[in-house]
């Protein structure tokens, strides 16, 4: 697992984020999350709230977003829970970024199925663009993390960029995706294999073949 470190507590950090507060829209969302839990258990909403906070920081900085310490303190305060408990949650789950990231956070899966299907090439392609672990590229666009299994083994190798997965990659296909992102476009998420829709077997379906074009009632065949 990638080593993660909390961004240091500096006066600059305090100055930049010390006055962080949810926007009206996020506040409404946060309160909706909190309302899901019974009285006295409000702190159970810490995970969605941290996510909201991370997204708001992302919107402010035009990146994927991350969690500066004052922001975590704000969330702790919002839920009336000790800050150390919030920090425990934020450091446990890798989808909370503890340090600034770029506009696009490229998370490459390097676990065995992806590795067997060529994730090394994907990583090399990322490195070629100047990405390296725990670092934001000079243009502020990219940050890179090698992660463990993201559950897309059927369409390996894959990367996750912000909220979308891009699967069935080769170095070339990844370049197309990254170029499109850099150009401000929205490339198609999911599999990049031409002719493939989702994670059906490569080379066409081998079972339930009648179901491909229309809904078929198999019950008569039993």
């Amino acid at each position: 697992m990638a080593a993660r470190e909390i961004a240091p507590d500096t006066p600059e950090l305090r100055e930049r984020w010390g006055s962080f507060a949810f926007t009206a829209e996020n506040k409404a969302k946060a309160d909706k999350h909190i309302a899901k839990y019974p009285e006295g258990r409000q702190k159970s909403a810490v995970m969605p709230l941290l996510d909201l906070a991370q997204r708001q920081v992302g919107a402010d900085t035009d990146t994927q977003g991350w969690l500066p310490l004052p922001v975590m303190e704000y969330v702790a305060d919002y839920l009336g829970m000790p800050i150390i408990r919030v920090l425990e949650v934020a450091t446990f789950y890798t989808m909370y970024n503890l340090a600034p990231v770029g506009k696009f956070h490229v998370q490459v899966c390097g676990t065995t199925p992806c590795m067997l299907r060529g994730s090394d090439d994907i990583i090399a392609a990322c490195k070629k663009r100047g990405m390296k672990a725990g670092h934001v590229s000079d243009d502020g666009l990219w940050s890179f993390t090698e992660v463990e299994c993201m559950g897309n083994c059927a369409t390996a190798p894959m990367v996750q960029i912000n909220d979308d997965n891009y699967e069935d990659l080769t170095a070339e296909r990844l370049d197309v995706v990254l170029d499109a992102l850099a150009a401000g476009e929205t490339p198609k998420a999911g599999t990049q294999e031409p002719g493939r829709h989702t994670s059906e077997p490569a080379g066409g379906p081998t079972s339930l073949t009648e179901m491909v074009t229309e809904n078929h009632d198999y019950r008569g065949d039993w």
């Binding site: 697992m1 829970m81 000790p82 150390i84 408990r85 920090l87 425990e88």
Partner: protein
């Protein structure tokens, strides 16, 4: 009550018990790291694996498994042996092999259990994990590479201390125990995590590299830093006390002690009075015992002799002083140094009647003028438990940081005669209502009003006594039992114009009241009392003499002598005995045993070690105004510096600077 079989032995265990508890009842030792009787169950160390049938065919963590009827538990099978060896091998993978330089060595759970349940050798040849040290304040030294992630410290600070400040960051192999941004652990019980830590990750900072456990002489003692009377063990080597550790006593301190109780012993070697001093022309100069006694005799006190007892003296010393004064024909004895004059005619009205264990059952508690967290940290732990059980707490006095939800009713003691509806309703509805009257409450004259409230809200009934006085001085209850109190407090003594005033470790007295008297300080530390004294007679601190102490709930406890007093210092009673000869009076005892026998003849309750003295029923009313007024101010301004021993301790000074005054000390200072 389910019946289970442990290693072929059939036993009945209470419903809801865990398999681990069942095994313990059967007399089997189950190794464990994360499980602790007084903390919640975590089940993360896996050391307590046993074989349980019926169930999955694999070893199970006994600490987290409730017993079921007819379970067959095996702790001696091949499976269990292998499981323990496996867990131990995994735990040791990332544990450094630094026992020779580790302070936990000799009292380390991991070391002991590795010997008893581990394999002989390691099969691990990769690099070990290393973790950076974390700063946790001046008391706790951390070597986090040794941590095995049992999370006892996290659970302690969250559940017992009520200060959520230690946490486990990151996950898996990267998990690290730390405080938020490595701030110092800032509560009064923080150092208990040192005892809880089963390995050498959290060790005692001030005691670092001082001694090995097997070199130490262990003496059973009683803590005198507050009126709780925590049971402690004094570990000494040669003539030096090296550390104080808690002893288990479920009625008093469970198994915790405050940081002050633990670390004030460091002050026992500093600023000590180890010679006789006499003030000559305004300046103290060294003298002999003979000179000092002659000078006291030359003052010809006759009946005009008074004794004021300090906060940490034992009953024997006070009794000896009282006997001396009685022989001189005087009864001018007082222990409430700061001039308080509450009514002591009914001891039940100045006692913590609910008892510490009992207060946990209270369901509505009114605290009057007590910052419990600083005045009696271990009572605060009990109050936290009561609140967890559903009790409501109301506080009269300035706000302080409680470790449980509490409602502050105002700073003025006049609130007592006009309680807000919220408090009235809660106290009326409560089955076991209680009131806790602290030192500041006494000082503002809240005594009579508190007794009235106790009766008004029916706090004293069959099987429950909710009237509680929370004192701060270890000597207080013993002193009043021995009659060490005047009706008008110290004012009466001043009015009697004594020629000689014996200050028995009394450091909080305003000695300017006794300008014409010869002030004789009999004590162990060069503090305020010694500064004001004309003659200083060096005496023994609480670790250097046997003694009887009565805590604020009236529990009589005895401490043993751990070490000898330094230099010329003598045990207090021998000084008073010698003084009797100098004054040519007869006190009637020549040995400590005689003294104790004489004392228990006069106050028989003092002979019942460990028991709560019977003070009878709470008086219907006590002397004083039932409608007092005035703003309450807590007497303790600094938790770490409340007595001369603590004030002499460098460790306590540092705690005070860093934790109370907030001065940031460089971490480099270690």
């Amino acid at each position: 009550m389910p019946k289970v079989t442990v290693d072929g032995q059939e036993i009945e265990v209470p419903a809801g018990a865990t398999v681990l508890q069942a095994c313990e009842l059967a007399g089997k030792e189950i190794p464990r790291f994360c499980y602790h009787e007084r903390l919640s169950i975590a089940g993360n160390c896996r050391m307590c694996l046993v074989e349980v049938k019926p169930g999955p065919p694999k070893p199970q963590a006994s600490c987290a498994l409730p017993v079921g009827e007819g379970q067959e538990i095996r702790t001696d099978s091949e499976m269990v042996k292998k499981a323990r060896e496996g867990v131990m091998e995994f735990l040791l993978i990332n544990h450094p092999l630094d026992c020779p330089i580790c302070d936990q060595g000799g009292e380390c759970d991991l070391q002991d259990q590795a010997m008893a349940y581990g394999r002989g050798a390691s099969r691990y040849h990769e690099n070990k994990r290393a973790v950076t040290e974390k700063y946790m304040g001046p008391l706790i030294k951390t070597i986090m590479t040794r941590c095995i992630h049992c999370t006892r410290c996290v659970r302690f600070s969250e559940e017992i201390a009520g200060a959520d400040e230690i946490g486990a960051l990151y996950r898996g192999e990267d998990m690290q125990i730390t405080t938020y941004l490595e701030h110092a652990a800032k509560h009064e019980l923080s150092a208990n995590v040192i005892d809880l830590c089963p390995v050498g990750a959290l060790t005692s900072g001030p005691y670092a590299y001082e001694a090995r456990p097997w070199e130490l002489k262990k003496t059973l003692s009683i803590d005198v830093s507050d009126a709780v009377g925590s049971n402690i063990r004094i570990d000494s080597r040669g003539r030096e006390v090296l550390r104080a550790l808690p002893r288990i006593n479920d009625d008093v301190n469970e198994e915790w002690i405050s940081d002050k109780a633990r670390y004030q012993v460091e002050g026992l070697t500093r600023r000590r009075l180890d010679k006789v001093w006499i003030r000559k022309r305004g300046k103290l100069s060294e003298a002999s015992w003979d000179e000092a006694f002659k000078k006291i005799a030359a003052a010809k006190p006759g009946k005009a002799i008074a004794a004021i007892a300090g906060d940490m003296v034992d009953c024997e010393t006070m009794f000896a002083a009282k006997a001396l004064l009685k022989a001189c024909g005087s009864s001018l004895v007082e222990s409430r140094q700061t001039g308080m004059d509450y009514d002591v005619s009914n001891l039940a009205a100045i006692n913590f009647n609910s008892t510490f264990a009992g207060i946990e059952q209270a369901d509505a508690i009114l605290i009057v003028g007590s910052m419990v967290r600083w005045e009696a940290p271990l009572v605060n732990v009990r109050l936290r438990k009561a609140v967890k059980n559903g009790a409501k707490v109301f506080v009269v006095g300035p706000e302080w940081e409680t470790t449980y939800p509490a409602t502050f009713l105002g700073e003025d003691v006049s609130v007592l005669s006009n309680l807000p509806a919220e408090a009235v309703d809660a106290l009326k509805a409560a089955e076991k209502p209680a009131i806790i009257l602290g030192g500041a409450g006494f000082a503002m004259g809240g005594h009579a009003a508190a007794v009235k409230i106790a009766h008004d809200f029916n706090m004293v009934k069959d099987g429950w006594n909710g009237f509680n006085a929370l004192h701060m001085a270890a000597a207080r209850m013993g002193a009043v039992m021995l009659g060490f109190a005047q009706e008008g407090g110290i004012k009466d003594i001043v009015a009697a114009k004594p020629k000689v005033v014996l200050a028995l470790g009394a450091d909080e007295v305003d000695f300017s009241q006794f300008e014409d008297a010869l002030k004789v300080y009999i004590g162990h530390h060069g503090d305020k009392g010694a500064h004001a004294a004309d003659i200083i007679l060096p005496a023994a601190a609480y670790t250097e003499k046997p003694g009887t102490y009565v805590n604020t709930e009236g529990r009589v406890q005895m401490a043993d002598k751990a070490v000898f007093a330094p230099g010329d210092a003598r045990e207090d009673w021998t000084i008073l005995r010698a003084l009797a000869d100098a004054l040519k009076v007869e006190v009637g005892f020549d040995s400590f045993d005689d003294l104790r026998a004489a004392m228990t003849t006069e106050v028989p309750a003092l002979a019942n070690e460990g028991e709560i003295a019977d003070y009878g029923t709470l008086a219907a009313s006590v002397k004083g105004d039932t409608t007092p007024s005035g703003a309450i101010a807590y007497p303790i301004k600094d938790f770490y510096l409340t007595n001369p021993i603590a004030r002499a301790s460098v460790v306590m000074q540092r705690c005070s600077n860093e934790l109370v005054l907030g001065e940031t000390m460089a971490e480099a200072a270690e």
